[in-house]
């Protein structure tokens, strides 16, 4: 062995550049080309998916509106001690007059009223009433405000404004978890009659888990059948799985209403066969049962397809070999076939569970009162009540729950085991 070649001579290309450098350059070029190719997609996803989502999520803590519109008041309120038992000083009222006057001219002050009305009912009209007259207020402003509405003379009114005049707020999260500020500023559970969201989160998780389980036990035999039948028959059956999948969601949901309602096909049939009395018709829709049945049906293909694609890859010879080695069909299934399908089960369950957690059209139509889910309320706050902050807070909590379950799944089953095909 020649020790002189411990540092081998640098290999160079024809134009004298070291080969390594030249290779790196060539590779960098193709890398850049690669990046450039995915750049449009990346930018598209960033701008149309991530930015709007994070923007929406950001709204759950954002509270720019109050400090922006009530600029003067909120600055002065910082120095006011809300536990002193005294109303804020005259300068605060003077600042409030300015803010109301300006906010009325710019048509922004009533947004603040509507924002604070989420916290305490009545603020919308208090602001509306005050804004209309604020420009005619004469000093002393405190008396002018209180004369316009006596609520301005209550310390709780000013406490609320002081509390919500920061750039960020946690009150949407409190509301989303059935908590609220008491007038004295302490956080506590809301009254029994107002509590709703915790119950709905729980119901959403339970119903989604149940629907996922039902999909699994229904889809497993179907997928097995599809994967073992000869191609021509299995293709035909596959079309029957996919046909409802391609049909409009609303059509399928409405069909379930026609089938399940009390004067519907199934009840008529059962009464006709004498299995039910005419007064004892089953209530299968406009309740949780309706949501479970309709959603299981709608989400079934999402379970069948991943299971099918996994089962298709399991050679029939495995089962034959197991039986050949003395396993009964049940043992062969449990010890050989089933473990091979776990990755498909994981994929299908995650898919169905995550879709059902965010479902809202079907529950809205067939869910009645005990079959509606948290997403129905997110939709309600997005489009009807316009409380986007609360909708965002509910959305963030839902997202966190899903991520936690995903993490749990990863620890228990392992996400790398998940296969869609």
């Amino acid at each position: 062995m020649n020790t002189g070649t411990a540092y081998p001579e640098i290999v160079k290309t024809a134009d004298g550049i070291p080969l390594k450098v030249s290779l790196a350059r060539a590779q960098r070029k193709s890398k850049i080309r690669g990046v450039l190719l995915v750049l449009p997609l990346f930018a598209f996803i960033l701008l149309t998916f991530f930015v709007p989502i994070f923007d929406m999520l950001f709204r759950s803590i954002e509270n720019q509106l109050v400090p922006e519109v009530m600029q003067n008041t909120s600055k002065l309120l910082v120095d006011w001690n809300d536990q002193s038992g005294k109303l804020p000083p005259e300068e605060v009222f003077a600042a409030a007059k300015l803010d109301f006057e300006k906010g009325h001219a710019e048509r922004t002050i009533l947004r603040v009223g509507r924002r604070l009305n989420y916290e305490v009912p009545g603020f919308a009209s208090l602001f509306r009433k005050t804004a209309r007259r604020a420009k005619d207020f004469e000093p002393p402003y405190q008396d002018a405000f209180i004369e316009r509405d006596k609520r301005w003379g209550e310390i709780d009114t000013w406490r609320l404004i002081k509390r919500e005049s920061g750039a960020f707020t946690i009150s949407y999260y409190l509301a989303a978890m059935d908590l609220a500020y008491a007038p004295d500023g302490n956080v506590g559970m809301r009254s029994e009659k107002q509590r709703i969201y915790l119950k709905l989160f729980w119901r959403t998780l339970v119903l989604s888990a149940l629907i996922t389980f039902l999909c699994l036990i229904l889809a497993y035999p179907i997928a097995h059948l599809l994967s073992t039948l000869p191609l021509r028959t299995s293709n035909l059956l596959m079309i029957m799985v996919l046909l409802p999948f391609w049909t409009s969601l609303l059509v399928r949901t409405t069909s379930w209403i026609a089938l399940l309602q009390q004067e519907g096909v199934i009840n008529d049939l059962l009464v006709g066969l004498g299995l039910l009395s005419d007064d004892g018709r089953l209530a299968m829709i406009h309740n949780a049962t309706g949501t479970i049945i309709a959603m299981t049906h709608i989400l079934l293909p999402f379970m069948v397809l991943p299971l099918y694609s996994i089962m298709k890859t399991i050679p029939p010879s495995y089962m034959r070999a197991a039986k050949n080695l003395g396993a009964t069909p049940a043992v062969a299934f449990i010890r050989v076939y089933f473990p091979n399908t776990v990755s498909g089960i994981g994929a299908g369950c995650i898919l169905v569970f995550i879709i059902s957690i965010g479902y809202y059209i079907t529950p809205a139509l067939v869910g009645g009162t005990d079959g509606t889910l948290i997403s129905n309320f997110i939709a309600y706050h997005m489009s009807i009540s316009l409380n986007w902050g609360l909708a965002a807070a509910l959305g963030v909590i839902l997202l966190v729950i899903v991520l936690m379950l995903y993490y749990l799944y990863d620890r228990v089953v392992g996400i790398d085991k998940m296969k869609f095909a």
Binding site: Y118, A124, K193, G368
Partner: protein, 364 residues
């Protein structure tokens, strides 16, 4: 952050526009409720207006149900593409207060009545907001199956009476209207409903009354649900918009009849979005489409009452059925013996907390 937000929203709406085709100079996007309602506007307003203004092309957009939230999003993106939006009065009030709708001078913008009465007087107190131009009065009222009830219901009390009217009933899944009805059925003087609701005990009382029929109620969210439930025999009585009941009774000839007692009046009309396009044509359109004759014309196609006093005598026969529309109007004297115009101002304050309470009550 704000900049990126705007860019992404503009890009987002640009993609949407790209899909629907970019509106050209004289295209007027008018947002309304779709279905039979938009069809009635098309025949009574859009078609005659386009006939008189050949350069203008009115495009219907049926997203009024999500009108406020979409308008708010467009406004934040700084790209309002809607020229005119049809909104119920309570939404118009919110849009006005949020600075999303333009305030209008009703007398300057709209045509006076044929006898010269200024528009603001002709519409009267139906102008519930500076931004709102009313076009119809509709009501939420009851329809019942004539063949499934032993004796026809005659008052709101019967809706809450499970002995007189056994079976399921459908009510709208919101507190507005239902709380008022519950109190009236419980014997509260209708003039004092809102005073009673202002107290905690009053709200409890309304919910206690609703409790008595809770298990027999199917709650609806879309106006088409009650007519369907009635036609299927799923419910024996149910509330919905009177126009929907008219079409299921008169056009589809179902064995259903109206029960008008304490119908809840509501208003629907136009708002002009702040920053919307083609302001001049919109002005011309509004002057035309809300004049006395046009409002009366709409009643030929759908059974909603015209918002102008001067239009009432001009309401004629249904365009295809040929029946006299007068008696089918919620405002007809026989139907309007007991009516409730719900208190917009009161509900603007209490909608948030009472809806939460209502939903919590439903979820119990």
């Amino acid at each position: 952050m704000k900049k990126i937000r705007q860019i992404s929203l503009v890009l987002g709406s640009a993609t949407l526009l790209g899909m629907t085709g970019v509106a050209n100079a004289q295209d007027l996007v008018v947002v309304s409720w779709g279905g039979a309602y938009t069809a009635s506007q098309q025949k009574a307003y859009h078609d005659p207006f386009m006939a008189g203004n050949p350069g203008v092309n009115i495009i219907n957009d049926d997203s009024a149900a999500e009108g406020i939230s979409k308008l708010r999003a467009m406004n934040e993106a700084g790209n309002v593409t809607w020229a005119l939006v049809d909104a119920v009065a309570s939404d118009a009030i919110i849009l006005c207060e949020e600075g999303l709708a333009e305030p209008v001078d009703h007398d300057a913008l709209l045509a006076p009545a044929p006898d010269g009465t200024p528009a603001s007087e002709d519409f009267g107190d139906l102008i519930v907001s500076d931004c709102f131009i009313p076009s119809i009065v509709y009501s939420t009222t009851f329809g019942y199956r004539t063949d499934l009830v032993k004796e026809p219901p005659t008052s709101i009390m019967d809706v809450f009476d499970l002995e007189k009217i056994p079976g399921k009933r459908s009510l709208e899944k919101r507190p507005i209207g239902n709380l008022e009805w519950a109190l009236i059925a419980d014997g509260v003087n209708p003039d004092e409903v809102y005073d009673v609701l202002d107290t905690e005990e009053g709200v409890d009382r309304a919910f206690a009354k609703l409790d008595t029929i809770r298990d027999e109620v199917i709650w609806w969210e879309k106006g088409a649900q009650t007519p369907q439930l009635l036609a299927d025999g799923e419910v024996v009585i149910g509330s919905t918009y009177n126009g929907r009941l008219f079409s299921v009774i008169e056009e589809e000839k179902q064995p259903i009849a109206m029960m008008w007692d304490w119908q809840v009046f509501d208003l629907d009309g136009w708002i002009i979005p702040v920053g919307g396009p083609h302001r001049e044509i919109v002005g011309e359109y509004l002057r035309f489409a809300t004049d006395t004759q046009r409002l009366a014309d709409q009643a030929k196609f759908i059974s909603y009452g015209p918002a102008r006093k001067s239009s009432a005598p001009l309401v004629g026969k249904h365009a295809t059925l040929g029946i006299d529309m007068g008696p089918h109007m919620p405002t007809a004297p026989d139907n309007a013996k007991n009516t409730l115009l719900y208190n917009y101002v009161w509900w603007a304050d209490r909608k948030d907390d009472l809806t939460e309470r209502f939903n919590a009550w439903l979820a119990q």
